[in-house]
Symmetry: C2
Subunit: 132 residues, 2 copies
């Protein structure tokens, strides 16, 4: 899905990964957004909490950040007599998450293209190096 073209390994900014939008790169929010993209009809607050192993307070705080950044929409309603909160990814949030995933994919491609062997015990660029 990515349009990632291999750039020269040593070009300026080659490993800057600007597209890793901080709002969704944060670990807990990455879990929230991934669970929402796999549940397009939305998830109830309590289900989301369980899927992501977050406390009420943490989930609320992360949802507020995602909501302010336009990633999620929050709906209030009832199931039977019980008030419920439903969270869904917005159309724009879904699009931005897919863009983010393309960058994430390029990180994996870059990293997995690395030489498979571990480095030697000492740098061999020149003699006279010592650990800082």
């Amino acid at each position: 899905m990515s349009n990632h073209k291999a750039k020269p390994i040593d070009s300026t900014g080659r490993f800057a990964y600007d597209g890793l939008e901080r709002v969704i790169h944060e670990k807990a929010r990455l879990g929230i957004v991934t669970s929402l993209v796999t549940h397009p009809q939305g998830l109830l607050f309590n289900d989301l909490k369980e899927l992501c192993l977050l406390t009420d307070g943490n989930l609320s705080r992360h949802l507020q950040i995602l909501h302010e950044a336009g990633f999620v929409e929050v709906w209030k309603g009832y199931q039977g007599n019980r008030p419920q909160t439903l969270v869904r990814l917005t159309t724009d949030g879904r699009k931005r998450f897919l863009d983010y995933l393309a960058v994430l994919e390029s990180v994996l491609t870059d990293a997995l293209a690395a030489p498979k062997e571990a480095p030697s015990a000492k740098p061999d660029i020149a003699e006279g190096w010592s650990p800082a």
Copy 2:
């Protein structure tokens, strides 16, 4: 490379992604570690700075965090008469980064398994929902 087995989409903690170690998940440090894994002989401080588009201060701060967590080793030496700093991934850091990449791969697998269509305009779980 991942041992990720598909778990039921609704099991507890399904989207918690515990293996996303915060020290290397942070955007700038993910770039630093990815550039180091592709350069097993190490990178000079100034080259690393350019590859990751970081300032001296930012790179120093992130390297200190990576060093304290055992991901990188820092060597001091000379090229000609000029003092240089060489940074390399440790053997353990390389291993932990590969473990991290396996979790990152499972995030991608999970997210890309999601239904391709955008959600409908309103939740259709039940009538009576309204935006919060």
